[in-house]
Amino acid sequence: MASNEAELGPVQDPGGEQRVQAAGFVAPLSPGAAAWQARMTGALVGLGWNTFTLIIVLAGWQILTILINSRFFPGPVAIFWAFVDLAVNGDTGGRTLWDHAWASVQRVLVGFGLAVVAGVPIGLLMGLYPRVYANSRVVLEPFRFIPPIAWIPLAIIFFSGMTRFAFLIFLGAFFPVFTAALVGVSRVEPIHRKVGLVHGASKGWILAHVVIPTVLPDILGGMRVGLGAAWLTIVAAELAGGISLGLGRMMSNYAELVQVPQVIVGMVLIGILGLIMNEVLLLVEKRLFRWRWRVTL
């Protein structure tokens, strides 16, 4: 790379001064226009291939449904029309697909948000003070092995509405986030801490400028796992009933009516919503962690 060049001595660069000035505090990675173009081209090619794969799979599926010809095995076309019908006219109770989806998304965001808000500081605290963790893990660890689904019966007794779902999703998403932060702390390089110490940095400085930058990639990774757990939990909780809104509820209703296309619409929408949220987190990762070799996938 360019580094070899640098080893050979000073490089003449008349524009250097201005760039150094411009660097200031928020020095951007500033990829050249060519590099940016190359990246965009790469992204477009990727998009093209993904579209191609999607079309092939959908076409194969549609052909299969024509061959099988059963109302229990609908094809993409039938599912598409069910989707349009649900989105425009709503379900048997008059609630549209968006009402259901929004209810589910809200629950996921609230429960997941609580899990992050609690999981990150507790994980960091226990990572930084391993004795706190070592002396309390007998209480903490068993909870990890009680699946959030197992909490549903209790949650139905104790809570209703948003509280119930937030509680269940919190249980599902907390441990991935907590564990990521806890384990991430052990990745802090002693030498980086020492850099702070010799310059007389406070504990707060080391936390903010050494620990958190080191742990952040792990936390983001834990958040993506937690998000998966959150969706798993919400659908299970909604299937369990007691409410009228939510994608899980909608799917359950149509399953009782043996209307397969509508059930699959719910499944597909959950997949798409999960994908979008995951992509948003990935985007954040890419922006935050340009300094890494590559983004973990």
Partner: protein, 264 residues
């Protein structure tokens, strides 16, 4: 230079449990002096630097900077480590600025100093690069720039070039001298390489193997740049080597023998 006041005064003994690491190390460093400390591997050189930096309290004795006990929060101390110590999440510019930021320098002053040192160490074209994008030698150069960017009362260097190839190492030695000549910080440079010590230092302190004692304190009265092939350089280097070699039986002694030697 010999008339300059004592900047740092050291008088320490240190032990890890029952293992005596430093046995009454007593020396001082003058203001603006470039002191090299040379000793066999495992004689506690890194530990000594941690003590000098004030981040490891010695078992006995103390370290004084300007006649006060060393305190990293008050004194301005910089450290160039043996292993890579740049922050991978910061680019070159921000890495160099780290020490100044901890010391709470104002933005304008900070920018001026960082840019100045970046010019001295020829990192100007790489201010936007992240550590993973540059070579090991350049990373070490960033760490050196970070150390020299502050108004350090004392700069400690722990075998900073040990992992570099020979040509890079030689160029970095010259660069450090150039940087030091521009800024005249007080430097304590630790190495196990005699040639490096004699090439760089105003003075060379030679340590014995564990438990470390000062076995020689040699002034290198040669002007810089020094020629490692000159007769005087060779003579000083040979003198240091002879002293180190005379200690060899201690180095080679097996652990039980050493225990007996300690008991005596």
């Amino acid at each position: 230079m010999t008339t300059a006041p004592h900047k740092v005064e050291v008088d320490v003994s240190h032990r890890y449990g029952s293992l005596l690491v430093h046995d009454g190390l007593r020396f001082s460093v003058r203001e603006n002096e470039f002191l090299c400390i040379c000793g066999p591997s495992g004689c506690g050189k890194t530990t000594l630097l941690d003590i000098l930096a004030g981040i490891l309290p010695p078992s006995e004795g103390n370290v004084l900077i300007d006649n006060r006990a060393v305190d990293p929060k008050r004194d301005s101390i910089s450290f160039v480590f043996q292993e890579p110590s740049t922050f991978p999440w910061l680019n070159v510019w921000d890495n160099v600025a780290t020490g100044l930021r901890i010391k709470g320098k104002k933005a304008g002053e900070l920018r001026r100093r960082v840019n100045e040192i970046i010019d001295i160490v020829n990192l100007r074209d790489f201010v936007h690069y992240y550590p993973h994008q540059i070579s090991g030698g350049m990373k070490q150069r960033v760490a050196i720039a970070r150390a020299f960017a502050t108004d350090a009362d004392l700069i400690l260097m722990d075998e900073p070039f040990v992992s570099l190839d020979q040509p890079t190492r030689e160029r970095m030695q010259r660069e450090v001298l150039q940087t030091w000549e521009r800024r005249r910080h007080t430097v304590v440079f630790v190495t196990h390489n005699l040639e490096e010590a004699v090439f760089l230092g105003d003075r060379v302190i030679v340590l014995s193997a564990k438990p470390a004692r000062i076995v020689a304190d040699i002034v290198v009265p040669m002007p810089r740049p020094r020629d490692p092939l000159s007769p005087e350089f060779t003579r000083i280097r040979a003198e240091c080597a002879r002293i180190l070699q005379s200690l060899d039986p201690v180095v080679a002694a097996s652990p039980p023998d050493r225990k007996m030697a300690e008991a005596e």
